[in-house]
Every structure is written in C-alpha cells, then in structure tokens.
Symmetry: C2
Subunit: 277 residues, 2 copies
Amino acid sequence: MSGRVAGKVEGPDYRVFPGSPVRLAEIDPNETEGYTRKKEVLPELESLRKRIRRLHEKLYAENKRGLLIVLQAMDTGGKDGTIKHVFTEVNPQGCRVSSFKAPSAEERNHDFLWRYHKSAPAVGRIGIFNRSHYEDVLVVRVKNLVPEEVWRPRYRMIRDFEWTLTHNRISVLKFYLHISKDEQKRRLQSRLDDPDKRWKFSKNDLAERERWDSYQEAFEEAINETSTEHAPWHVVPANKKWYRNLVVARAIAGALERLDPKFPPAEEGLDSVVIPD
Amino acid sequence: MSGRVAGKVEGPDYRVFPGSPVRLAEIDPNETEGYTRKKEVLPELESLRKRIRRLHEKLYAENKRGLLIVLQAMDTGGKDGTIKHVFTEVNPQGCRVSSFKAPSAEERNHDFLWRYHKSAPAVGRIGIFNRSHYEDVLVVRVKNLVPEEVWRPRYRMIRDFEWTLTHNRISVLKFYLHISKDEQKRRLQSRLDDPDKRWKFSKNDLAERERWDSYQEAFEEAINETSTEHAPWHVVPANKKWYRNLVVARAIAGALERLDPKFPPAEEGLDSVVIPD
C-alpha cells in the first residue's frame, strides 16, 4: 500500500499521506497481520486501553493539548463498536462522544462546518466524532443532496478546518473502518437473525447498501483529498472486529504518546504550608 | 437519620425527603455499614458497575428517558474520584460529564440556570454534573457574591427546574459527598506530601477551608430546601472512598433499574427481508 509511512506505533501503519493516494479496492479488509483469533490480540488490546487511560489522565490534568478522533465507515462498519471497545476504560470526565445525524433546521441555516466546530474538543479533552463533517462530502454527494459545485469545494474547507484545529493544540486522528460488501451482508443478516439485535435493523439499510459502489467512490476520493501531513486518514482493515479495535487503539495510544502530556507543576511556595485544623 | 426512606436498592437509604430535614453535623461521614476494608466491597462494586453499564446500554438504545446525576461536595470531597471509579466502565457514547467553573462573561449575562440547562442530558443519555446549579446557592452565598434576596429565591427556581426535567423524562439524582473537616485535612496533607499529587494543591484551598462552617451551613440549608419527592438529595458518608463509591453506584443502579429501559422493538415486516449480495 503506497500511502503507508512507518510510524512510532507497533504494527503496520495504515495512514494515508498526500502524494500517495489509496485505492480502497486494493486494500484487504480481512488483513490481520497473521493473527487468526481474537484471544491472540486481547492482551495487547487490554494493555493499550490502560495506556490510553493513563495518558488521557495526564492530558486532562495538563490541560494544554486536545485530541479529536473522527470515525467514519459504511453502515455496520463498526463505529459504535470501536468506541465501546477502545474507550470503555477511559474516564468519561474529559472524553466526549458527539454523534451526528441529519442536521436540524437551525444547523442547516449555517455553513456545514458550524455544528462540528461547536462540538470540537477543548484542550485537556478527547473528542470522538461518530460520523462527522465528512458526511457532507459522502451521503450528501451520493444522494445528490447538494450539487457538485457545493460539495467539491468542501474538501479544501475540511483541510483548512483541520489545519486550524491542529495549529490550535487539537490533534486530529481520522479512521475509515474498511469492511467488504460481503462482510456488510453478514452483519446485516446477523442483525435480522438475532432477536436481541433486530431492533438495529432498518429497511433503509438495504437502500443504502444498493449505493455501495457510489459510497466507496465517495470515501476513496474524500480520503485522498483530505489526507494531509497534519491529519492523515487511517484506512483500518475492519472485517475482523478485534483486529480493527487493535489497530485503532494502537494509533490512539501512539498519538497520545507523541503528545507526551505531563502533570502540571505544583504551585510555588508550598514547602512552608501548614494545614490548620 | 429521620429523612431516610426504605428504597429498592440494597443497603441503607441515604435519601433526604421533604418534611424530614437533616442536620449534617449528626450524620457520620465514617459510616460504612460495618465494612472495614475496601476489598470487602470491591466484588459488589464491580457487579454494580456491570449492571450500570448494561442498563445504560438499554437506556441509550431505548432513547426515551435520561438521567441527570449531580455531584456536590466540600473541596477534596471526592467528586472526581466518584466519576472515575463509578463510571469508568460505562460506554462514553451516551454518557457526558459537565464540569462547571466560574461563569464566563456571556454566562453571567443570563439567568443562573441558563448554562446548566444547556448541558442537561437528552433522552437516552446519562449526564453527570461535576458541580452544578447548586454552586449558585453555595459558593455564591458563602462568599457574598450576590445578596440574600438574590440567592434565596433560587431554591424555588432549582426545585422548579428539577421538576421540569423530571416531568420531561429526565430523572434527577443528587449526591452530597459528606466528609469531615479532619478528613479534608488528611486529604490536603496527602496532596502536599505526594509529589505526584502536589499539582492538585492550591493555597486557595486553605482560604476555602477557613470557611468550612459557612459552607456546611449553606449545604445543609440547600439540601433541606431542595430535597423533593421527585429529586431527593443523597447524603453519602464519604470519609471512606470505597464506601462512597459503593453507595453512589447502588443508588444509580437502583434508579436505572426502576426506569427499566428496554431495547426498542424491531421494525415491522422484517421476516420477509432478503439481503442482496
């Protein structure tokens, strides 16, 4: 995969960099580094969760830098599951998930980035976008909700927005969870078959599935147009949920380690302090 | 303790109800039901965390009722620690912590409830207030930031606000974490003594400690004035952190069990669905 550059995290680097565009059809969603079973990776995942938890505690105390995590995928691609499995041990104080549905009437009266900017994390925080400003070049394009002369300039607006965040102390990590069309069928079928999951199934999912190729095309272009040095996409092989969790957790732990947050220094003059009864 | 009423949760009921006011000086912050060591309660706490996690998952899926948790305490009383230990296994998707500091210039230009109302949870969510609208009858009163004719009518405004939330599908659970003045001294001293915690110590903590009695008086009146049938306070013995966590976790699990959230029903007509390749 031409777009990969060696990083500091262990394991393969799934980042996409400008000048090395990817073709999604050439990236294997089944890749697992040779691991064959979930239990082989669980110890590493557990240790990564603990590292993320410890680093987040320091990020919060330091209160100087923040992290925005963007999760995008085809339907059933695993955005919810990734949040649940990677972030479940993180202290909810200082970690906020924002899910974006169709915009409200008020939101539609503003520029498309307005509602995402409002939800961007502050310093000291991790913000997770479950869907994001990328929907405005994905579903909007596939369903012709706005004409190309409206959505195409958004690539630049998105690059600029993320550059602004990055240069204002908020690192941006973007993950495309890459599943195959066959795997989506299996996941939809299991929602239909399992009485406990059936409530998650919507007939609308089938209409979206018919647009699979258009969505793939839109994702591929969005990923290539908005992978920048400061905010590259990660294309995560996601047919195996446990491998997807591992790859995302590694990238987040790695990003936090590069930030290297520190507990703040103590106030001056505490040595002489006596606490009265 | 006259204000206690038997509830459905296991263990003593620390709720305060109207008509049975409490005197904080008569409530023992060291109470532990006879437990003497943390490890005696850890299995129950772990099981409560799992119950909260499962019930929260259903609350989120159901998307019909929400829960607002208010945490208040004297400095070092354990608000942050309670969030960390009780909520750490909860999925951050659908659980949001709001911490309130001194109001901004914009917030000061609105009524005092404005910023809290904006942060109230939606249905399907748990919202946690780390400090809350109660600061506007606590610190504001103790430090004479506004005159009594301004802060006293706020008791009624708070009761009305919480009644409105409760009758709009958001249950309100309020916890006062009750520590002794001696215990606060120990906790401040351990922040001074431990190099890893020293950054948490502020000389301003000592000025606040001098106002201990005024704060106790303000808390006691606020608890008695705003304990209602729909939103009673819990006065939680909190000198032992592990017992405090247990009491809070029991109350939250109990409240969620009374809500008894359900996964939503499946769409009609799914039996005939065939997923195309």
